[in-house]
């Protein structure tokens, strides 16, 4: 498997993959699957669907704001749209798209045959998927949540938000939290315990490292929002007084609990993207990652510091000069490890033999856009400066430079990079490049003017504005840009659909990459590795000496036994969502039914034979 220097030969690519039927089987085989690759694909498809839903919500917002006194949608619908846009993009698009790569790629990168707990993995997916449907069902039943994606108390109290919109949000996020924590626990154990022989921690690929760090952030951060949501749920359903100021309740407690989760959440969204870019830049520079330990440790440091900066979201509530100073300083500190990563990527490219294929273009686009978002972030880190920017479009511009210019660009880089491994076919390079350039221009056209809109005083979350305030031209630019962004996504969709049907066969290692996922066929056989590889370096497929044992797929050896499919994960997930629906409607029979289905799922699961 040693790389010979030339591009993988056409003969090797044209060779028909022996695992063409890797994803065959009917609907039932997908519902009961416990294969990490199929679960990864289901995560990716549903995440991309919700990415389109969230994008559509954003387009409606932009069309409403295209000119002054817009009348396309009214204030009430506008509130639902920006709330669901934020909630959808964070919880239903970016996080599950990262989870798709955790699922498909991480076991391959560490030389494992599956995750540590395959059925738990299926449960995570089904709880996510059904929870996402639950949350979006709100549009059909009296309207979607409308209190913003961080749902500040006491706007969310029964007094100010009667009806079940907020209940959908509270219970939906609790359900999604179950999925996230279960998945994170699974990946922590998988990465700690299922690495192939020789893969010491400091030989793990960066994407695997960042998956591990992200998973730790998830299991530590989600309990805080869980408690916040439970307090809110008790206030709304059982009449407790946690966020009722008249009874001594403290509305700031919600903000603290939310942001103790919310700021690590930013890194939960970002770190997988950083990991993917750290894989892609070396491959297309044909150089090992510059300063590998620094990149690893700065990722870990970002995660640690990420727990100590939550109150920088709360500068405007008046925590006092000491708290503001401490949180300002801590926030500025995060710029250091982040900068380390950026310099390491640039140093990796420096002197490299650069190949500007589509994944590399998106990775470089990510670095550039993320720097802009990082710089406006440093502006907010100063409490005095932040007070001018809070609740204006400047913040909207910042978050989109970080989460769209940053994370989404990196995730598209990852899609272009890993889809050939997943489907066995390359995406079209020309269409990919058109996608990149249209998206880059459209993205900047959409969001760069929002910096100025914010500095000129345009408030966020306001459904319209009057003429004569100087907002017209830049809002129109932003709207045109957003429509172009939508179009660029359609280019990608077309490229993807086209490539599945007539894309060039990818072969085993189309990019001449260094990590283990590229040592097996595309798509991989259901057992991944017939015999476990053994590695002695960080870049096993680039190793000059042949001590790395990357055996490939030897048909002479027996196929490993893999866990059998199981329907208990989906049963348990249905029970959880049934319980959620019972809580929402406060119908005791539904609650009991949900609990009964859950118990049936748990006991069936516990006593199900694993491999037969």
């Amino acid at each position: 498997m040693a790389v010979t220097g030339a591009l993988a030969s056409d003969a090797a690519r044209a060779e028909k993959s022996p695992h063409r039927g890797a994803y065959s089987g009917g609907l039932w085989s997908w519902i009961t699957t416990v294969d990490h690759k199929r679960i990864g694909i289901m995560y990716a498809l549903s995440a991309f669907f919700f990415f389109l839903v969230g994008g559509l919500e954003a387009l409606l917002i932009r069309i409403q704001l295209a000119g002054p006194n817009g009348t396309v949608i009214d204030a009430d619908l506008y509130n639902q749209l920006f709330t669901m846009h934020g909630t959808t993009m964070v919880f239903l698009a970016i996080m599950p798209l990262s989870a798709a790569f955790f699922n498909f790629i991480v076991p391959l990168q560490i030389g494992a045959r599956d995750v540590a707990f395959p059925r738990l993995n299926a449960l995570s997916f089904w709880v996510f998927f059904l929870g996402a449907l639950f949350l979006n069902a709100s549009f059909l039943f009296g309207g979607a949540p409308d209190a913003g994606w961080f749902g500040y108390a006491n706007l969310t109290s029964s007094q100010y938000s009667p009806g079940i919109r907020i209940d959908f949000w509270v219970i939906g996020l609790l359900v999604l939290g179950v999925s996230s924590i279960a998945a994170a626990l699974n990946f922590i154990v998988t990465i700690i315990n299922l690495r192939c022989p020789g893969m010491t921690p400091m030989r793990m690929p960066l994407f695997t490292w960042m998956t591990l760090v992200t998973s730790f952030l998830l299991v530590m951060a989600f309990p805080a929002i869980t408690v916040g949501l439970v307090l809110l749920m008790f206030d709304r359903m059982f009449g407790t007084l946690f966020f009722n100021p008249a009874a001594g309740g403290d509305v700031l407690l919600w903000q603290h609990l939310f942001w103790i989760f919310g700021h690590p959440e930013v890194y939960i969204l970002l770190l997988p993207a950083l990991g993917a870019v750290s894989e892609i830049v070396p491959v297309f520079s044909r150089k090992p990652l510059f300063g590998y330990p620094f990149v690893v440790y700065s990722g870990v440091l970002i995660a640690f510091l990420g727990f100590g900066v939550w109150a920088h979201h709360m500068f405007s509530v008046g925590l006092g000069p000491i708290a503001n100073t401490v949180f300002s300083a801590a926030t500025m500190l995060i710029a250091i490890p982040t900068g380390v990563k950026i310099f390491n990527w640039i140093a990796t490219m420096w002197g490299g033999s650069l190949r500007f294929r589509t994944p590399m273009l998106f990775a470089i686009g990510f670095i550039a856009m993320f720097i802009i978002g990082g710089l406006s972030g440093i502006m907010h880190s100063s409490a005095a400066s932040d007070l001018q920017q809070t609740d204006t479009y400047f913040v909207v511009a910042h978050i989109h430079y970080v989460l769209f210019g940053g994370v989404i660009f990196a995730l598209f880089a990852a899609l272009y990079y890993w889809i050939p491994k997943i489907t066995g076919r390359l995406l079209h390079e020309g269409l990919g490049k058109i996608h990149f350039w249209v998206m880059l221009i459209a993205f900047n056209l959409t969001f760069f003017p929002q910096h100025f809109l914010g500095l000129h005083g345009m408030p966020r979350r306001t459904f319209t504005y009057q003429e004569g305030l100087g907002f017209e031209a830049m809002n129109l630019m932003s709207t045109v840009g957003s429509l172009l962004l939508g179009a660029s996504t359609l280019i990608f969709l077309w490229n993807f659909i086209r490539s599945i049907r007539k894309g060039e066969p990818a072969g085993t290692d189309p990019w001449e990459a260094a990590t283990l996922e590229w040592s097996i066929s595309s798509p991989p056989p259901h057992y991944n590795f017939r015999s476990l590889p053994e590695v002695h370096s960080r870049d096993p497929l680039w190793a000059v000496d042949t001590s790395d044992s990357v055996p490939g797929d030897d048909p002479a050896r027996p196929e490993p036994h893999m866990p059998s499919p199981s329907y208990y994960p989906v049963v348990l997930a249905l029970g959880i969502v049934g319980l959620a629906a019972g809580g929402l409607t406060q119908a005791l029979p539904v609650v009991f039914l949900g609990v009964a289905v859950m118990l049936f799922g748990i006991y069936g699961w516990a006593f199900e034979p694993l491999e037969r």
Binding site: V189, P223, F234, L253
Partner: protein, 197 residues
């Protein structure tokens, strides 16, 4: 760990530890954050209730000291249960598993008595901040004990039908990890809520 026999011989793992045990430890780490957040909520609202009844009027330290002792003893039973299963003594393994669950039930009964007594004295979820934060914090702990009791009774049921043997010592050990964790949480809650009232 060292007891794992050929029947439970796992696939290769990087650390040599069973994956289930790492899962439980990581889950416990996450649970610490959950109880930590609830405890902080309780402490933030301590002394902030604007109407009574207040904690110092209601909390019955001697009574809860007894149930705390019962819960601590259940941890001892758990240790004995695991030791018995590990040495293959399923008869005593069953006895100690059942004892652990029964002491858990005694603790829960104490909690039910305490809750109903408080409600009788006029403290509900809706009365004041103390009511809400107290019932939520101790109720969440009680729910964890309940899950543990069901788990232990399930193991006991498996053992009586011969489906839990020496080879499954790891299964008992993991249930034990959970049980001890729930006990340790109670030590913290007992100290913060009752002793530091």
């Amino acid at each position: 760990m060292s007891q794992s026999t050929a029947a439970t011989a796992e696939h290769y793992t990087s650390t040599g530890l069973p994956s289930r045990k790492i899962l439980m430890w990581t889950f416990i780490g996450s649970e610490c954050m959950l109880f930590g957040s609830l405890l902080i909520t309780y402490l933030v609202y301590k002394g902030k209730s604007v109407v009574g009844p207040y904690p110092e009027e209601l909390l019955n330290i001697p009574f809860i000291t007894v149930t705390t002792f019962v819960l601590l003893m259940s941890s001892l039973m758990m240790v004995l249960a695991l030791a018995a299963v590990q040495r293959g003594d399923m008869k005593w393994g069953k006895v100690w598993l059942l004892m652990t669950a029964l002491l858990g039930i005694v603790f829960l009964s104490g909690q039910i008595y305490e809750f109903s007594h408080f409600v009788h004295e006029g403290l509900t979820l809706k009365t004041n901040l103390f009511g809400g934060s107290f019932f939520l914090l101790t109720g969440t702990h009680g729910a964890h004990v309940t899950v543990g009791v069901i788990w232990l009774l399930s193991l006991f049921g498996m053992a009586t039908r011969g489906r839990l043997t020496q080879a499954d010592a790891e299964t008992v050990e993991i249930a034990g990890l959970y049980w001890h964790f729930v006990d340790v949480v109670w030590i913290v809650l007992f100290t913060v809520i009752y002793l530091l009232v």
